[in-house]
C-alpha cells in the first residue's frame, strides 16, 4: 500500500489547461443561398478552404455519376483546360480537390493567404462553368473504372461494402464505392446534367480559415461567388429500420485474416444522449485505452488495431465495430467482442474509466481545432449538420456532466450485441464452424475482381 502511494505520487499531476478562446466566426449568407463562415487565424500565412454542397446521391447510377463528376470537375472550363487550371492553382501555393459521398460534395483546398482572391476566382470559374470536355471525361472514366476495381479488391473495402449493404438495403447509404460496370456506362451528358442540378449554392457552406481579414474575405467571396446560382437540394430519404439477423460471412478463400465488422444504430449529434454516447463508445473501443484494445490486443494478441466509432450522416448516425483478426482466432475474437459489448450493455463503467474517456474526449477536441486545417474541417463538418462554433464550448461542458448511469443507459441501446448486425470477410471454410457456435450464419461469395 505504501509502495503504491509512493509510486503514484511520482507520476506528475496534469495541470488544468486554460481552453483556447472560442474562434470568432464571421458569417454571411449571400443572396444566392451560399453560407460563408470566416475565421482569422494568423499563425501561418495560409488560407484553408472547405466548400460543402448538399449532394444527395439517389441510387447506383447517381452514385457513379457523382463519382465521375467529382473526378472531372477540374478538367476544363470555357476559359481554361485541365493543365491550365492546375497550373494556376499550383502557382498560388494551392491545391483544390473534390470528394463526394451520398450526402455531400466537398471541395477542399488551401493556398498562400495572399492568394485568396485568385483561388476563389478559380473555384467560381469551375462551379459556374465546368465544361467536362468529352475527351477528358472519357479518359478519366476509363481510369476510374480501373481504380474502383482496385479499391474493391481491398478486404477493408469489401467489408465496408458488405456492412453498409447489410445495414441500409435499397438506400443510398448501402454502397460507398460505385460498381465498375455502372461507372463504365456513365455518359458525359448525365454528368453535365447532374452538375446543373446539384452544384448549387442553395444549402452550400463555404468555410475559410487563415491569415485573412474577415471583412475583406467576405467581400472577395461575394465578388467571386455572388453570381453562382442553382436550385434547392434534394433531401435524403429516411434510412430503413435496422433488421437484425444472421451473421453474414463473405467468403474470401485463402484469407489469412478475418475482417470482423459489426454495425448498429446511433444517435445524432443533436440528440441529448450524444455526450453519453460518445463516452460509451470511447470506453468500449473508441481509443487505445478502451476495453476492446485491452482485451483482444494487449491481453490476447488477436489483432493489431481493433476499434469502434460513431459516424454521423445527414439521415442518421451509425456505430461500427471493426477488428481484423488472424483466421484461426476468428471465433475466439468474436466471442470476446460480444463479451465486451455485453458488459457495456448491462454494467456501468468504473469511475476511472469514465473520467479517462471524458478527459480524452475533451482534450482531443481541443487538439483537433489547434491547427488551421483542423479548425476549418471541424467548423465545416459542424456547419453541415447544423451546429455552430459554440459546439466546441458546449459539447465539452456537456461531457463533464455525464454520469456512469447515463453511459449505461445509452450503452444498453447502442452496444447491446443483440441490436447489432455482423459481417465477416474471411475464409468461410476455416471460420464458419466457430462463428456458427456463437450465432446463426449465412455465407456469400466475395465478388471476384474484374
Amino acid at each position: 500500500m505504501t509502495t503504491m502511494t509512493e509510486r503514484s505520487s511520482l507520476i506528475p499531476a496534469v495541470r488544468p489547461t486554460v481552453p483556447a478562446d472560442l474562434p470568432t466566426v464571421v458569417e454571411r449568407t449571400l443572396a444566392n443561398g451560399l453560407r460563408v463562415l470566416v475565421v482569422a487565424r494568423t499563425s501561418v500565412p495560409l488560407v484553408e478552404l472547405r466548400l460543402r454542397i448538399p449532394f444527395t446521391a439517389l441510387g447506383a447510377d447517381n452514385t457513379a455519376q457523382a463519382e465521375l463528376l467529382a473526378e472531372t470537375l477540374f478538367t476544363g472550363t470555357a476559359k481554361r483546360d485541365r493543365v491550365e487550371i492546375a497550373t494556376a492553382v499550383q502557382a498560388l501555393g494551392g491545391a483544390l480537390s473534390t470528394v463526394v459521398d451520398a450526402d455531400r460534395l466537398a471541395i477542399v483546398g488551401s493556398a498562400l493567404a495572399t492568394h485568396l482572391d485568385p483561388l476563389l476566382g478559380i473555384l467560381a470559374e469551375v462551379l459556374t462553368g465546368a465544361s467536362y470536355p468529352d475527351d477528358e471525361f472519357t479518359g478519366e472514366r476509363d481510369r476510374i473504372v480501373e481504380d474502383a476495381t482496385m479499391a474493391l479488391s481491398q478486404p477493408a473495402v469489401i467489408a465496408r461494402e458488405a456492412l453498409v449493404g447489410r445495414m441500409f438495403p435499397g438506400h443510398p447509404y448501402g454502397s460507398v464505392v460505385a460498381e465498375p460496370a455502372v461507372l463504365a456506362g456513365v455518359e458525359v451528358g448525365s454528368v453535365r446534367a447532374l452538375h446543373a442540378a446539384r452544384i448549387s449554392p442553395r444549402g452550400a457552406i463555404l468555410t475559410l480559415v487563415g491569415d485573412l481579414d474577415p471583412a475583406a474575405a467576405l467581400g472577395a467571396v461575394e465578388a467571386a461567388l455572388g453570381g453562382w446560382a442553382g436550385g434547392e437540394p434534394e433531401s435524403m430519404p429516411a434510412v430503413p429500420a435496422l433488421t437484425t439477423g444472421p451473421i453474414l460471412i463473405v467468403n474470401r478463400p485463402g484469407a489469412v485474416q478475418t475482417n470482423i465488422r459489426l454495425g448498429g444504430v446511433a444517435r445524432d449529434r443533436s440528440d441529448p444522449g450524444h455526450p453519453a454516447q460518445r463516452l460509451a463508445n470511447t470506453i468500449f473501443g473508441g481509443y487505445f485505452s478502451s476495453r476492446l484494445v485491452d482485451n483482444i490486443r494487449e491481453d490476447k494478441g488477436y489483432t493489431y488495431s481493433p476499434r469502434s466509432g460513431v459516424d454521423h450522416y445527414q439521415a442518421g448516425s451509425r456505430l461500427t465495430v471493426a477488428a481484423d483478426v488472424s483466421t484461426d482466432v476468428t471465433g475466439p475474437a468474436l466471442l470476446e467482442i460480444f463479451y465486451e459489448l455485453g458488459r457495456m450493455a448491462v454494467l456501468p463503467p468504473s469511475a476511472d474509466e469514465l473520467e479517462a474517456a471524458r478527459q480524452y474526449s475533451v482534450g482531443t477536441m481541443a487538439l483537433g481545432s489547434a491547427t488551421a486545417t483542423g479548425l476549418a474541417s471541424t467548423l465545416s463538418g459542424l456547419a453541415g449538420t447544423g451546429l455552430g462554433v459554440e459546439y466546441l464550448r458546449d459539447h465539452p461542458a456537456a461531457l463533464t456532466k455525464v454520469t456512469a448511469e447515463e453511459v449505461l443507459a445509452i450503452a444498453t441501446s447502442l452496444l447491446a450485441p443483440t441490436g447489432l448486425v455482423g459481417v465477416l470477410v474471411g475464409d468461410a471454410e476455416k471460420i464458419t464452424g466457430a462463428v456458427a457456435a456463437l450465432g446463426a450464419v449465412t455465407t456469400v461469395l466475395a465478388a471476384p475482381a474484374r
Binding site: R7, L10, I11, P12, A13, V14, R15, P16, T17, A20, S43, V44, P45, L46, F74, V83, A86, T87, Q90, A91, G93, G94, A95, S110, L112, E136, G139, D142, R143, E146, D147, M150, S153, Q154, P155, A156, A255, V256, Q257, F288, S289, E298, G301, Y302, T303, Y304, S305, D324, S326, A356, Q359, Y360, G363, T364, A366, L367, S369, A370, T371, A449
Partner: protein
C-alpha cells in the same frame, strides 16, 4: 529570378545534458497544446541479421511498461490527460511522441524519461507483442493486394547489403525467435540518452521546460553511444529488374527506384531531387500526370517521392527516389518505362518551362508551412532535423533553401536519374479474371 516565399519563423533553443541527451525547444503559444517527441538514432537498417523486424518489435515493447508504469499504462496516462500518442520505426530512427493539452507537459516528460531509463520487458509481454506485430503485418501486407509494395519489395532489388535490402517488418520466424536478451542488448546499445533527441514544441515557457527536463532526464546515466555506421553502397551503372506475383492484386503495378545524392554532402542536389518529384507527379499540371495519365492513358495512377515512406528528411544516405504506378493489364511496363525515360530526357535537355519552378516551389513551401502549423508535425520534423542533420533550424530555412535551388539543378537531377542503373520492380496481377 527567384520568387520569395513565406518561411516559418519558430523560435528554437537547443541544449545538451551531461549524459548526452540533445534537447530542442520550440515554444509557440498559438494554441494551448504541447507536443513531445523522442527520436532514437536506431531504425530497421541497424537491426542485427537474423532478427529482421526487431527495431519495430522493440518499438512496441517500449509501450509495455517501465519502472513506474505498468503494461499498456503509458497510453492510458496520455489519453486520460486528453492527449494522443504513437511511435514509428523508420530506416534510421525510431520516434515516440505525444500531443497533449499544454498542462500535461510534465506528465509526458516523465513518461518518456521513465522508459528511456529502461522498459520493463517480460517474456509474456514479448510474446503478446510478437502476436500483435504479426497481425499488423497480416493486415498491412499479407491479407491485402499491393501490401508492402514497394517499400518492402523494392529495396532488395535496389540494394545488395543486409541493412539496406532486408524487410523492416520482419520475417515471422525471426520475430518469433526474439528473446529477452536480444531486447536487453538492443536497448543497451541503441537507447542511450546520448543517442537520442528530445523535442518539445507548442505552448510552454522554455525556462520552465528546461527545469523539468533536468529533473526527469538529468540523472539518466550516460552510456556509450554506438558510432554512426555507414550504409553506403555504390550507385550501379546497370539496370536491375525483378518481378513478383501478387495473388490478390487485380491490376499490375510498377516501381522504379533511383539513387539520389547524400543530403549531408550535396544538399542542393538532394533538394533538387525533392523538387523533381513535384515537377513529375504533383497535380494535373505535373509532367508524368500529363504524359502517363492524360496523354498516353497508360496508368491508373502515378506518384513519386524521396525516402522510404515519402518523407525526404527522415533518413540518411543511401536513399531512393521512387516512381510508382499502377496500370491496366493491357498497358505494358516497358511502354511506361520508356515514357518516363522520355520525360526525364526532355527535362534534362530542355530544362523547366517558364514559371514551372516557381509554382512548384510555391506549393512545396505551402505544404511545409501547413505541416509545421501542427505542433506534433513541428516536433517530429525538428527532432528528425536535429538527429539526422544536426540542424533543427532547417525547419525554418527550407523554403529559402528550396528557393535557392536553380532550375538547372532540377534538370541535372533528371539527367542523373537517367545516367544511373535504375532498379525496376514489376508487380504482376495474380487476381485478374
Amino acid at each position: 529570378m527567384t520568387a520569395s516565399l513565406p518561411s516559418p519563423a519558430y523560435p528554437l533553443e537547443r541544449a545538451r545534458l551531461d549524459n548526452g541527451l540533445r534537447i530542442v525547444l520550440a515554444p509557440d503559444a498559438t494554441a494551448p497544446v504541447v507536443a513531445v517527441a523522442v527520436h532514437y538514432d536506431v531504425g530497421f537498417r541497424s537491426e542485427p541479421e537474423g532478427r529482421t523486424g526487431f527495431a519495430h518489435l522493440f518499438e512496441h515493447m517500449m509501450f509495455q511498461g517501465s519502472e513506474h508504469i505498468g503494461k499498456a499504462e503509458h497510453p492510458k496516462h496520455v489519453q486520460a490527460a486528453g492527449g494522443i500518442f504513437n511511435g514509428s520505426t523508420h530506416p534510421d530512427h525510431t520516434d515516440y511522441y505525444e500531443l497533449l493539452p499544454a498542462g500535461a507537459l510534465e506528465l509526458a516528460l516523465f513518461l518518456e524519461a521513465d522508459r528511456m531509463r529502461a522498459p520493463k520487458i517480460t517474456r509474456e509481454n514479448l510474446d503478446n507483442q510478437i502476436a500483435v506485430v504479426q497481425e499488423e503485418i497480416r493486415v498491412n501486407v499479407m491479407n491485402r493486394p499491393y501490401g508492402g509494395f514497394p517499400w518492402i519489395s523494392l529495396p532488395p532489388v535496389a540494394f545488395d547489403t543486409f541493412p539496406n535490402a532486408h524487410n523492416g517488418y520482419g520475417d515471422f520466424s525471426e520475430l518469433e525467435a526474439a528473446s529477452l536478451d536480444d531486447a536487453a542488448d538492443f536497448f543497451d546499445k541503441f537507447y542511450a540518452p546520448g543517442n537520442a533527441v528530445l523535442t518539445i514544441a507548442g505552448d510552454f515557457a522554455a525556462d520552465d521546460a528546461m527545469k523539468l527536463v533536468e529533473r526527469y532526464y538529468g540523472d539518466i546515466a550516460a552510456r556509450a553511444v554506438p558510432p554512426r555506421r555507414s550504409f553506403a553502397e555504390p550507385v550501379r551503372a546497370d539496370e536491375r529488374r525483378d518481378q513478383l506475383v501478387d495473388r490478390l492484386a487485380p491490376r499490375p503495378a510498377l516501381a522504379i527506384g533511383y539513387r539520389i545524392p547524400d543530403p549531408d554532402t550535396d544538399l542542393t542536389g538532394f533538394l533538387a531531387h525533392h523538387l523533381l518529384t513535384d515537377v513529375l507527379t504533383s497535380g494535373d499540371a505535373s509532367r508524368l500526370e500529363r504524359r502517363l495519365v492524360q496523354v498516353d492513358r497508360s496508368v491508373i495512377g502515378v506518384s513519386s517521392y524521396v525516402g522510404t515512406f515519402g518523407d525526404p528528411f527522415d533518413q540518411r544516405d543511401p536513399l531512393l527516389l521512387t516512381v510508382e504506378a499502377r496500370h491496366p493489364v493491357e498497358s505494358a511496363a516497358d511502354g511506361i518505362l520508356a515514357a518516363v525515360d522520355e520525360e526525364l530526357d526532355r527535362l534534362a535537355t530542355d530544362g523547366l518551362a517558364d514559371g514551372e519552378l516557381d509554382r512548384v516551389r510555391a506549393r512545396v513551401a505551402s505544404v511545409l508551412l501547413r505541416e509545421a502549423d501542427d505542433a506534433l508535425g513541428r516536433a517530429l520534423a525538428l527532432g528528425a532535423f536535429e538527429l539526422h542533420r544536426g540542424r533543427p533550424e532547417m525547419l525554418n530555412e527550407l523554403p529559402k533553401l528550396l528557393c535557392a535551388v536553380p532550375g538547372e539543378a532540377v534538370a541535372a537531377a533528371a539527367a542523373a536519374l537517367r545516367a544511373q542503373g535504375r532498379s525496376v520492380l514489376e508487380l504482376k496481377a495474380g487476381a485478374t479474371s
